[in-house]
Symmetry: C4
Subunit: 498 residues, 4 copies
């Protein structure tokens, strides 16, 4: 079945809301009908109309998106290679010439995660930076994620033998890991570096670190785990799709790789996308330069600009519930469920009631990317300690958000967390140096964690306890119930009715 | 009755405290006698003496001011048009040439209220900016209005169906509105844009938002509501005048428009003007350039400079009381009363005792423009929750001041507010883009509010409750009574005696 | 008795530690013997050696200092006027030429005390600025003095008649003043402006404000009160001298002016000078330029540099006590005593026990100039309210330090202060515009105070009460006793033993 | 035994990981075998390979290091002096020419410790600055050390005789000192100035101040005390070495100087080095310039860079315990033990149980150089006051960290400390002016302490008490136990089991 060849000149004629063609992976598509329903808005497509959009499209769309969203007849044929003129990769070239800013120092000279982030900022595209770095509204959730760790003091016990220090721990009751640090699901790793999610996997292998693969990964799960080490632990993040059959299909695919994927991580903290203004701004730059005169019918309904973040939400379901979604999951996978995005003790308590199907919660505010002024994970951890410590007996409690130092890791562990996730930090490591950059990130965190534990007089993770931290500055800011609840002392009754 | 024609040259001769003429709307007035009693000081008039002052006068004086303050014989005649030379609108021209600063970006690229404010700053006159933006003394009330929202954390509940989200609510027990956001009374909209208060009204219509018209509006109430939609809700703000007959006249006029005006909003938080230094400074600029050598008799009694804010207070009564003013109002209108400017739980409690004549209070410190270090509305809201929650059963509690984000709106609603007002934000929207700018302002707030509620797991306004917010950082700073009251536990007695 | 005439050339030969002459007020002195005992160090004199030092000496030495510290034979004769060459007042000339910085705006355009301070900074000498503005160590006491007022919120009551507002009050039980604001004792007013302390007195007359004259005033008490209005109230500040006969002499002089001086203000908060580094630095500038090579014997004992502040302490006694000093005072004056510098509730309690000789305390940390991290007056005021409110029944409690706004005045009054003092603010007013500058300072504070009281719904000073302020932010930082005292509840016993 | 002479040219040939020679103190060493085990990494040596490394090596290696770490045969012979070309001391010369920055002002013009620090920064090498100034991670421990003193307010009592003020006190129950201020052990004084530790000793002599000599001093203990005054008090700091015989040897040497060394100070707060990034960065500069291309086998195991701090830890034991180390010490010295680095009340309580062998603890977080977000000494002092005040009855409690002012000294003393140490401040004094700089440092602190005590109305150290300070701002942030402990009130039981 030889496909029709279409010339680049012909494609270039279709650049309006009335007729819009693009070339992707060598195929030519008529996407006119699809335009108004694009989650990022139609303008963002129109600026790519009439030309090869693969470079822009590829790293931010999950595999299979095209097939799922376009009718077969939208594919018009193949681009005629003979008619193509190789475009100059102008932006990249510019970056390469800018050598004085020393954007590629040896990895070993980078001493902490902030320095790695700064290198990544110089090396990755503005668009990738905006997508990774951005957070919702005024960035207060993101800022609080960091500062809350500063407000916790450590309590070093001295005159104890701290010759050795063992960071290994066991997750979900049976998976042994080399460090209590895991890579949290974060989308689109190839935006940072061609090593992508597989590069992160290889770096994790070196440290025995667990990795949770994003539902919006830029590589297939099979690719990512293809050269995993024996015993290396992965989880698969699921954003349930409105069209449940799509989600059932991906679950089936993951069920099929039991050597690698040990659980499904269901993300709950972002049923709708947060407002990440830097990401949206970045989008405007090109959109308005190219297409500011064009009026399209979807505009008036779109208050935000639609950055990468909003586009990724295409098709995500907002109707998940304890009562319906967990049984549906049970039908489609035997893997344990990890609930990501718990932000109150009430929901942690509920999650524990769903054990053993639910094996862990990740206290997370989505890296500050969903709701602004959401509680940092440490708040929720302290709430659980205060109102329903029995949760720790039933499920693992993991945290993420704002981890920059080994001391941060230790503080979370001392307060009861079993593992601590990094999201942006892994991507910035990748951006700064590919797989090697992620290794350096993990190496720094591991070494800082060991130093911290030794200086606390602690030999292994299980010895850490609340006595090693002073949380008073934070404790007085956590939720203390509505007034009636407190005075009447009815919390136990309330719990029973949750 | 042909009026006398006076030449511009003749007018130009009268520029001293001893003889001062101005041209306004084509009429020539001798305002020598009026000079010492001008609330803004005589110098501010002297700089306009001998010429056409309409452009300066018009947007900052309520309609009818001339007639009310000058004797008929002060009007000397009409200016002879043949003698006029068209003045060059120098300042404006400058603004228009300054295109590089990109002061008119497409509204849809503005992502939040701060960006809109920045555009407005570039587009409106310095004088208008100074009047709108300024607040009293060191701006601490204004600053606290904003930061108090940052100090409240949200508590998102997950795993709930948040597909839809309904923002409609009912005000004063019977007026249905599309959003729980209203435009608070703010004076002189035409200083920002010719669309004026009517432009705001049209923008509100699109969102079903309530609007309270300022007593110092720059358009007549009839103009403002002239093309209102059926069911669109307005309130009329009243500054009671020392000369009560003036206030009775405006009440009669408002009573006459029952389809539009549903209540009288009586402003209580500014019986005398606050000290808005930026506004006063702005005034000095011209005053001293033109007339610094002239000594006038009213100077020594005027400690402040007299910005737009002080001029607007001309004639405002400072002797309002619960016992006298409310009965007087009852005699002159059947409309319910909304009391604006309540800043303590004691006054909220008193207001509730005057239901049903009083149907609502607006917790407000006048946008930080009256008293510096006044409590932000959230403080008063928390005070009411703590000391006299029964208030919520009797009257609506609205708030304004410092609202910049949908999360701010949601926090106030969760703590018991029925509606949330924006003042400067509407004017900045107007300044940035006329009616379209106000629409963008409301569109952003509406979308942010929906996003926030969905991420909290809430389907409509009535589901919001104190459990959705963590107010501990703020709670510990609210008034807790004087020491004796607390130890003796006599608050209930005190309440009964208020 | 014709005095010997000495030529300027002869004087100029004596510029070493071995032989040091200076000309002062036309007299030539041999001060060689005095050099090592000069409180500011000998170098500071050596730089003036051999020439006319009147300009430097005059405004910073209390009248009579020469006579008290030099033996009669130190006076060698009169300078021969024929031998003098008029020195060029270089520094001042420079200042006058610097017109572009607009250092003399019309007083009425200055809207607040900070603006007046900025003008004063431009107009007065660096040395005067350094002396007035400086405070001890890291300026934390001074900074806290200001910020503590910001942390107190006001509680406006609305719907009350605030047409009029009466600021008059009565001090020490019988002296009626026009405003509850007084000028606190601050040294060396002529450093700021030739109007000096008399200029302040005239400004106070206009507002009926009380003035306390500094022990280190740059004019005699007789000069200062020479054209006081009937009923104008003055106090005299006393620094007790080691040589008590000097203090007894000044007391006798003050006792002699009963129409003007109503009390003696005994300063307790600075028995030794604080470390005001800016003042000391200013001194170094000239000292080291002129005399850096000279070794003098007093150097090694002088850790600080000896600014104006240290020089003024010359001869001040550090051995004052309740038991000895108050009876000694009773012997030498019938005037009531006001104790300045009380910084704990314990000392306020003690002071009240010495009523009626002691009629008032001034809660003061010496404008942050004595001890760094001393409590601001508001702390002490709140301590008194908490631990020994009976103090208010026995004596007046006045405060000073950090007053910048009418709201500050009102806050102190609401918490129980009878009057509120300004120190630097009066001097900066003087520096900015002489008597007129002080008037503007008082005018601003008076107007702000009235505005604040009206917006609180208060008609006069006596209506102000703790219910008008929210002090929670400050309350939680005041001293709460040492742990044992608190748990054992023995405070009443402790009080009885103080 | 004439040693072999080796030419400089021959040495210069050996600059690789395979064959690496250096000249030290005129001797030529083959250090190839030693390379991989160098605590600072091999690269840092390779940059010095083939040449005379004495200048870099000398001030940062304790005496005897060479002998302890190299086999005898590693010493190849003496450098042939005839073959040497005198290197130009380029860096130093540069410094000296830079006269405009006024880096050597007269000591007496420096008014506080910050100014001395700034002068030191200009005068010492970048490497020394980085080593002294640096602290762990984000410098939060170091920052908190300073700010905690600011948050404590003083409570001056007035009307007390403060003519005199006596700073003398007695340490460890019998050693009289002139000031309650001591010099804490800090390594490598000769990096700052050739006067080194002996210069500090001479400065201490002038004030009767105690000095604790660092285990890593750059001079021998015999040199340091060689001209000590009678009664001058020294302590010797011990870092126990993995090879205990080395520690036993130094103990024997110290035991031998009973007139000078009165105790052994065992450092507990840094069993492993903290992460001092500025120190490590400084190291990279040269390392990577010279040797960036070379791969060495120790690299992959070294996450940090290895600054001066890490190199000094070479051989330090990390296995010290109460039960084993204290008895071992008792066997090797009769001197009392002072435990440095206690950071919790639990460890202070334990230390007191080991009295009388343990005679004091130093509350210290190692100047913020070990663990970041460790508690400042004031926290631990307040913890002891709260949970186990009996500690003060059994042992001395000294503090260090963050002392910048006399008021800081007084605050620590008022809360129960017997003495207050300065570490960096002494080194910065040394760097700014050698012995004279240390004297100025002590002179300033002494004078500020006297001023503060006089202004508090206190005559001597023993009169200071908690009533002189208001610690509420700090008190509410100190550790308050884990929740269970608090509610069950079991602390007394817990103490008994420590």
């Amino acid at each position: 079945m030889a496909e029709k060849l279409i010339s680049a000149a012909e494609v270039a004629k279709h650049t309006t809301p009335e007729s819009c063609w693009v070339t992707l992976y060598g195929n030519v598509y008529d996407i006119t009908e699809f335009l108004p329903s694009h989650p990022g808005g139609s303008r963002i497509i129109l600026q790519l109309a009439g030309r090869d959009a693969t470079e822009e499209y590829d790293p931010i769309h999950p595999p299979g998106t095209l097939e799922e969203n376009l009718k077969p007849e939208a594919k018009l044929g193949r681009i005629d290679p003979a008619t193509l003129v190789q475009a100059e990769p102008a932006a990249k070239e510019e970056k390469k010439l800018d050598l004085e800013d020393d954007s590629s120092p040896p990895m070993e000279t980078l001493l902490n995660l902030d320095e790695i982030e700064q290198v990544a900022k110089k090396k990755i595209s503005e668009k990738a930076w905006a997508y990774y770095w951005s957070a919702s509204d005024n960035l207060w959730s993101k800022t609080n994620n960091n500062t809350v760790y500063r407000d916790i003091l450590l309590r070093p016990r001295v005159f104890t033998d701290c010759t050795g220090c063992d960071l290994t721990t066991t997750l979900l009751g049976k998976h042994k890991v080399g460090v209590p640090i895991f890579v949290a699901p974060a989308a689109m790793a190839r935006l940072a570096h061609p090593d992508g999610e597989q590069g992160i996997a290889r770096a994790c292998a070196r440290f025995g670190a667990m990795q949770i693969i994003s539902n919006n990964a830029s590589m297939t799960p099979e690719q990512i785990v293809s050269d995993a080490k024996p015993g290396q632990t992965f989880g698969w993040q699921l954003y349930v799709q409105t069209d449940r059959t799509k989600s059932e299909a991906i679950l089936a695919r993951i069920n099929n790789m039991p050597d690698h994927f040990k659980f499904i991580c269901l993300t709950l903290d972002a049923p709708v996308p947060g407002k990440r203004e830097l990401d949206e701004k970045q989008n405007f730059k090109n959109t308005f330069k190219v297409a500011s005169g064009v009026k399209t019918k979807d505009e008036s309904e779109r208050p935000g600009g639609g950055g990468v973040g909003q586009q990724l939400f295409w098709g995500t379901a907002a109707d998940l519930t304890w009562k319906i979604t967990l049984p549906w999951l049970a039908k489609h996978t035997n893997l344990p469920i990890v609930l990501k995005g718990v932000q109150t003790h009430e929901d942690a308590y509920l999650a524990a009631k769903y054990a053993p199907q639910v094996k862990a919660v990740i206290l997370s505010n989505h890296g500050g990317r969903a709701l602004d002024t959401a509680p940092p994970a440490i708040h929720t951890l302290l709430e659980i300690r205060k109102y329903c410590p029995e949760v720790f007996n039933h499920i693992d409690v993991w945290v993420d958000g704002g981890i920059k130092r080994g001391t941060d890791v230790v503080k979370a562990l001392a307060l009861g967390a079993t593992a601590v996730g990094i999201g942006r930090a892994a991507l910035f490591g990748l951006g700064a140096g590919g797989q090697e950059g992620v290794e350096r990130t993990l190496e720094i965190l591991q070494a800082e964690t060991v130093t911290c534990m030794k200086l606390l007089g602690v030999k292994n993770v299980s010895e850490l306890s609340p006595k090693h931290v002073n949380t008073r500055k934070v404790e007085r800011d956590i939720f203390d119930g509505d007034a009636n609840l407190e005075t009447s002392g009815l919390w136990e009754k309330v719990k029973s009715k949750l």
